[in-house]
Amino acid sequence: MIMKNWQIPEDELLYSGHAACQGCGGALAMRLALKALGENSVVTIPACCWTIISGDVLYNALKIPVFHTAFETAAISAAGLKAGLTMRGLKDTTVFAWAGDGGTFDIGIQSISGAAERNEDIIYFVYDNEAYMNTGIQRSSATPWGAWTTTTPVKHPEDKPKKNIDEIIAAHGVPYQATVNIAFPEDFIRKVQKAKGIKGFRFFHIFAPCPPGWKIPSDISIRAARLATQTNVFPLYEIEHGKNYRVSYMPPKKVPVSEYLKIQGRFRHLKEEDVEFIQKMVNENFDSLLKKHELTHGTLQNIPSPEFYR
């Protein structure tokens, strides 16, 4: 199965004067999302790197309106904007929330759960760089097992596995949710375009490397992101109504997680047995995901291979 002629809109709704670091996964993620969503959109951004990236009070790096909101309010803020615009007759405008992993997995989860359960007509994006990067790399519940952060120092690195936010959202039975990765822009844009045409609560979990926070050179952030999916650390998939699973990418051959871990300074302290433990967790998670795909489709043969994305 090979899909030629991917359509990626040429419109740029993110100006070049934004304030992101070099190699920022979160900035590239916004660029791709906006290509899919278009200008009839408004975004609400809680406290996160993007509070800074979008520009200070006199500027706006986006070609759509940006509403800045409090840390824990991204989902309800989007729902409030949607309600206000609807009452003014602007029913077709896409309203989306754009939050980091801290604002989503941790402090914002109550508001997300409420909005998801009520099936608010919004799209929620979390750009997940696996720690509180804007405040200086503190651990969040999205930080993976074994990682260094400034609050999980090398002598006592993160000792809990990453919270499974996707299953939490799935438990709400929302119409559409997907994982996407900045290293797979065609898949990213296809999914966002698909979500745009669906009504109700839609959720995107974006894998977005952070060079300073992961201690990687800024020119390998795409490579790190690509390896995360190739090693099954961050599989790509969609869930509809919390029960229909579709895996979007089947790695060609098993690439060991060590390939992903060894290029990042935040994992440098890991011992061989730590890497084995991570490999075991990754295998279990991916197997469980494949079972859900198989339960939905009765086969694994329809999962696209890497050629699909060439």
């Binding site: 309106p65 940006v66 904007l81 309600a83 206000g84 615009l85």
Partner: protein
Amino acid sequence: MSVKKVLTGNHAVSYGAMVSRVQVISAYPITPQTQVVELLSEMVADGLLKAIFVNVESEHSAMSACVSASAAGARAFTATSAQGLALMHEMLHWAAGDRLPIVLADINRAMAPPWTIWTDQNDSLSQRDTGWMQVYVESNQEAFDSIILAYKVAEQIYLPCMVVLDAFVLSHTSEPIEIYDQEKIDEFLPPYKPMVTIEPGKPIGYGALAGPDTYMEFRYKMQKAMEKAVSVFEKEGKLFGEMFGRTYDLVEPYMLDDAEYVIVTVGAVTSTARVAIQELRKKGEKVGLLKLRVVRPFPFEKLRNILKGKKKVAIIDRNISFGHHGIFYEEIKSALYPLQDRPIVYGYIAGLGGRDVTVGDIIGIYEDMKKRETLDEAIWRGVKL
């Protein structure tokens, strides 16, 4: 044509929101407020009110929904009490800092612990410095009227407004309310047309990062808006009187012209104080009452003009700033300080957590003030030890 209905304070607020044609309501249940939004959700479901009701999972989200809906250009409303208002605190700052004319009805309820559901003013006064205007009402009619007035003022100066009424004393007590002709209300309060809105095609950043070179001007402009709100309240209160027969000012004097002694009240206790003043007047006492209605913006000039030259003033505070005094006592005393002929001011803490403040209590406060010679502060009334 106007109609009369017998309504509780809570339902008077619901009707106030309905006739103000609010467009987005977001709320969370809490006693004693809940009836306000119960009735509003029925009004929306029945099509009496064209609005979206967002049934959120917390008060924090309720205020957040109002903030965003208002930023998108809709007229937004919510109601809450005590713990709910405290949970909104962060977003109250957001509403004011974003200059959004949201109206909130706070049914005054004392703060826990210990758990309580009865009235005092510490919940709303804990939010005093968030940049919200605050109006305290004495009756259910005033609650209804004040919601309409709150939108009229808020939408001119771009600051949110809290209308505050006492738990149970007003919220669950029925009184006859005059509901004015909707056409006249629409004439008084036209649709909300904000200067700036979040909408597609206008790629602005709203509430973005402000450094030391830009932040202070935002705060200066909020203060200037508050100062302007004094005259806007006065102007709109007069116009309200011309159109509907009930005039409102920021303060309301009662039997004060020849008074040497003054009692100052805020909220429903004012009605009780009116009776006390009548009884004292029958005995020949030269005492009057000053009701403080709008406490943010604070009506400095009006208070000074009324209280200058009086002998003594007793302020009844249904609140306390721990380690200081009653909050209205602090504020009124400091407002009077620049006067040459300022009266002696005493502060009485009474009625916390819904303890009844009776006509007898207020007469007792008057007698205490009259004979007191030392400059005492934070005088407690009715404490059982």
